[in-house]
Amino acid sequence: MTQVNRLPDGGRLNRAKVIRFWYDDKKYEGYPGDTLASALLANGVRLVGRSFKYHRPRGIFSAGAEEPNALVQLESGPYTEPNRRATEVELYEGLVAHSQNCWPSVGFDLGALSSRLSRLLPAGFYYKTFMWPRALWMTYEKFIRKAAGLGRAPSEPDPDSYDKLHAHCDVLVVGGGPAGLRAACAAGATGARVMLVDEANEVGGHLLLGQHTDIGGLVANRWITERLAELNQMAQATLLTRTTVTGYYDYNFLVANERVTEHLGPNRGDKAPKERLWKIRAKQVVLATGSIERPLVFADNDRPGVMLASAVRAYINRFGVLPGKRIVVLTNNDSAYHTALDAKRAGAAVEIVDIRPDPAGEPIEWARSLDIPIHVNSALSAVGYARGKITQVTVMTLSPDGNEVRGEARHLRCDVVAVSGGWTPTVHLFSQAKGKLEFSDDLHCFVPAAADDATDDTTHSLFCAGACRGSYTLAECLTEGRDAGLAAAAAAGFADTPETVAEAAVEPAPPPASQRHAPQYGPRYGPMRALWILPCDHPIGEGAKKHFHELHNDSTIADIALAAREGFESVEHLKRYTTTGMGTDQGKTSNLNALVALSDLRGAPIPALGATTFRPPYTPLTFGAIIGQERRELFLQKRTTPMHAWHDRHGAVYEDVGDWKRPFYFPKEGEDMRAAVRRECLAARNAVGILDASTLGKIDIVGEDAVKLLNMVYTNAWNRLAPGRCRYGLMVNEHGMVFDDGVTTRLGEHHYHMTTTTGGAARVLNWLEEWLQTEWFGRAKVYCTSVTEQWAVASISGPHSRALLAELCEQPVDGESFPFMSMQQFAVAGIPARVFRISFTGELAFEINVPARFGLALWQALWQAGEKYGICPYGTEAMHVLRAEKGFIIAGQDTDGTVTPMDLGMDWLVSKTKDDFVGKRSFSRTDTARAGRKQLVGLRTETPDFVLPEGAHVVEKLLDAPPMKMLGHVSSSYLSPNAGRSIALALIKDGFKRKGETLEVALTDGGSHRVTVTDTVFFDSEGERARD
């Protein structure tokens, strides 16, 4: 028989359509409008999982985001998602879900043996059990990982698409219950841009909970419909349902996750994303986040069938499901009486156990009028449980202090216990926004302190309305909602107009007493008995029965007592030690009861204990939503040069340099990297090679103090650089350590063109601006403008480069007319160009800069004209080899932030005569000036073609085992076709003095290779070729 617990009518369901779904491989039926939880309850499924630590059977506990038990593995394969709350998963055709944390099945679970071993799993058991012996940690870890995980992460790529966007509004209203709806309408009427966000599939909040029975369904329904119509007419209003605000960050920045098509099932969203992440910046925020019912803690209160009273009511009224035939309502306040009334009317046998000695008032009278037995001054001292369901509860009389039960034990047959310990305002977001909480002695919970204290920034403030600030009556919710909405709009600059004032006055009349919508208790609705942890017939923690204050992490009152005994009595310690309030649940139903237990143990009032910090997210977010569109090709930009299409066509293999895709090498058919690089290196020295150097950083520097700037940021002197001439410079930081290098050219009287490394372009410009703006502000007359991508650069290198250039221009380019380290402007292949005769290969070379639009045209012209010279495109690897053959450094490879120019053997680049430059002072620091620093040298391997691994350590003699004296490391290492052997650069302690010495380089296979320390130049040591 299907849907045994489904009521014949009622609920916000479409009963015309039957939905089939699978849970633990069994097929069930439900209706559109169901959640997975309501459909499971309708089908009489009680057992939905095993608990985290003890593997105790657990059932559905709530009807919302606070669900601690019913976490399921939703769907399978690439669509699977762990830890989904069945109470929030909307039912769709073909839904597949599995219970978690149990093997082989939820009914028979081997892990449940740990329940028998529970004495071995006390609070903090991770910290105690697995710490010794240390050597076994690797073994323990495997066990813990296997035992601790709840669900399984998908192992295949996520086929869904996700969306994320930025949104802005004047007033953001979080929560679409009566207060939130009212706030949004009031704020929207002023013309403010309003967003209303609610986590459910429809707005209404608690109005949906009881709309169908005693509270006048039509009234509530019509009121919601009218408000929605109002919002729909506002051009500037946005309504988001199925959207959870998960985090509230500084300056009214909030993050919300919209489940766009998830409720349709996998792959049914067409082009629409599965989820959409909203990054909302709101001028003002109204929190109308409502409240969550608080459970009572009693012996074996975790049995499947123990549910929040509000959840039972929601299942009856909203989902048309009566979770049990015989329901015992256990309460310390009036609000649960509404559950009793609804359950009774729905056909259940109902009894009320009220822990108060003398409950009185309307709800009690209504219950009596329906002949519902009320056991006053009583508590549940035991829960009978067999074959997956509750069979009975034991009721005993409470002592006046509430510390023990006494008298005759009465047994009530039942299958569901509906429990209420009052209500907890949902203050997570308020607290995340640094709102101050205060403990209300009337309501026995934390409520937001005066709204004005919420933030110290008057331009961004937040307002709370309704149940989230402890105002539980519908009248209060409506009034506070309207007031908060108007106040928020006013604070955002939208004052009341006469219309809005008039509109606001048309307030629905408060419903008659018999039709109160919201859960009601508190001073005006009958006092609550301030008791949440109910005793049983043995002292808590000493007998077989367990009192769970925290179902999600399987934490008991005995754990809190143990933690306190062991000295972990601060709330923050308690939280970590017992894991209360941690994980996906964030303590929504447990935090306050844990505080009560701690308060009892320490004999201190709750306000004196304080509360732990609420952290985002309120409910978990998927990585997919966080990433949004930014996956695959949009994960990281691939920056390309104007010549990129040519590189593509010529089979370039790319290297990532920063975000740039630079050609690494250009393999010909059948060539591996080594062969290609060898060919490229030879061509660049024997014929002509062409390199795309467009990515180099370029900065245009103008102003009468330009030369002063250069003198300050470079170690060498710039006063005597003639216009049209180029000079190499090293940049060091304040500590004298090299961080960038490049060639700077004087273009005019006060005009320079600086080049930087590819990766250092932005950093160098920031560096110049930092000095100009913060240190020499107002004094230096100089402007720096990035021109990196203005210019596309083709660098031609090799003995034929001059002939090639000459062919494409009308200019004499012989050594005399166009000397080394100079720049000339003329047309190359008809394109206006700046041609720099500079060389990073040590060859005769020209760097031809043209406006980026003509980069490809220039490259193609060079390529065509170069054919007869044997032109060869080369990539960054050949460039690295060629420069290493010449001992030219790469900042960031041969330097690592601890290397001075002197360490590089480049003293000649450090001016002795300049008054000052950045880093100068540091060169006289003891540590910078001492002997024995690591210095850049060359290494020759014993075996000529053995290439040392970069990063390998250099030692005098490799010992059998550490420790041994480390001398330094290999920074660059290549097979050099031009030197005819392997070459390497290394930073070695006292390297300059060691030239000629034989050292050893440790290899990862445990062996070593002998090397001789040499000079850094391996080719053309006189430097003739570049000057030719």
């Binding site: 698409s161 969306d163 994320k164 966007l165 930025h166 949104a167 802005h168 841009r193 082009k271 629409a272 994303p273 990054k279 910046r281 949004g628 569109q629 930014e630 090709e633 949009l634 990281l636 930009q637 691939k638 920056r639 390309t640 040069t641 104007p642 299409a645 975000d659 740039w660 245009d700 103008v702 102003g703 009468e704 007359k781 402007y783 403008t785 990035s786 021109v787 990196t788 991508e789 203005q790 210019w791 596309a792 402007q825 047309a827 292949a829 008809g830 394109i831 206006p832 406006p851 980026a852 639009r853 003509f854 980069g855 490809l856 045209a857």
Partner: protein, 200 residues
């Protein structure tokens, strides 16, 4: 000396999005014809600088943050727009054919003053996004509030789209945005926008 901005017709220019088909539909995306761009630095508090630039450009430099000023001409194609980038920094967009003249005028008028007029014509391309969902499309990668009440016609802003720094410009009251982006980031921004357009 050749005209820096207009080499002979025999030389074929390219642009970062020249091989991408314009997106047309409810939301459209295209690369605008190339314009000249000049980055201008100078002292806004120096009245001589302000008047010299106004003379050279035909319009006063905007000093209100995130605003623009346009020098109107008889033919709209010769209009020049100046964008406020910072307290001492502006950007000029003008017709490519006029670039050399404008640069020369600037250099001539500003010669005695502390300034920089730097040609960045080729550094950036300008994409145009239009259609009623244009703002919603940009909202996928741009953190600024682009609502018509906030980001109004003729306003500009330096912001980001995804990981790319961009200069946004709303030329008129229509749902049209110009997105100036560095050459090397143009493909990324284009692909991002095209993907969002396709999903909306």
């Amino acid at each position: 000396m050749t005209d820096e901005h207009n080499p002979p017709a025999t030389v074929t220019p390219t642009s970062p999005a020249h091989h991408r088909e314009p997106v047309e539909g409810k939301t459209s995306l295209r690369e605008l014809p190339w314009c000249a761009k000049i980055n201008l630095r100078g002292e806004a508090h120096n009245a001589r600088f302000m008047s010299a630039t106004a003379e050279a450009l035909g319009v006063a430099l905007p000093t209100e943050p995130n605003t623009t000023a346009t020098a109107k001409t008889e033919t709209e194609t010769d209009d020049a727009t100046v964008f406020w980038l910072g307290p001492d920094e502006w950007l000029l967009h003008c017709n490519l054919a006029r670039a050399d003249t404008v640069l020369q005028q600037l250099q001539q008028k500003l010669a005695p003053l502390h300034h920089a007029a730097t040609d960045v014509t080729d550094y950036y391309t300008v994409l145009e996004l239009s259609g009623k969902d244009a703002a919603a499309t940009l909202a996928r990668g741009c953190p600024l509030d682009l609502h018509e009440r906030v980001f109004q016609a003729t306003q500009c802003a330096q912001t980001r789209f995804g990981n790319a720094g961009v200069l946004l410009y709303k030329p008129n009251a229509e749902p049209v945005f110009q997105i100036q982006v560095r050459w090397s980031f143009a493909g990324y921004v284009w692909d991002y926008l095209a993907k969002v357009i396709d999903s909306l």
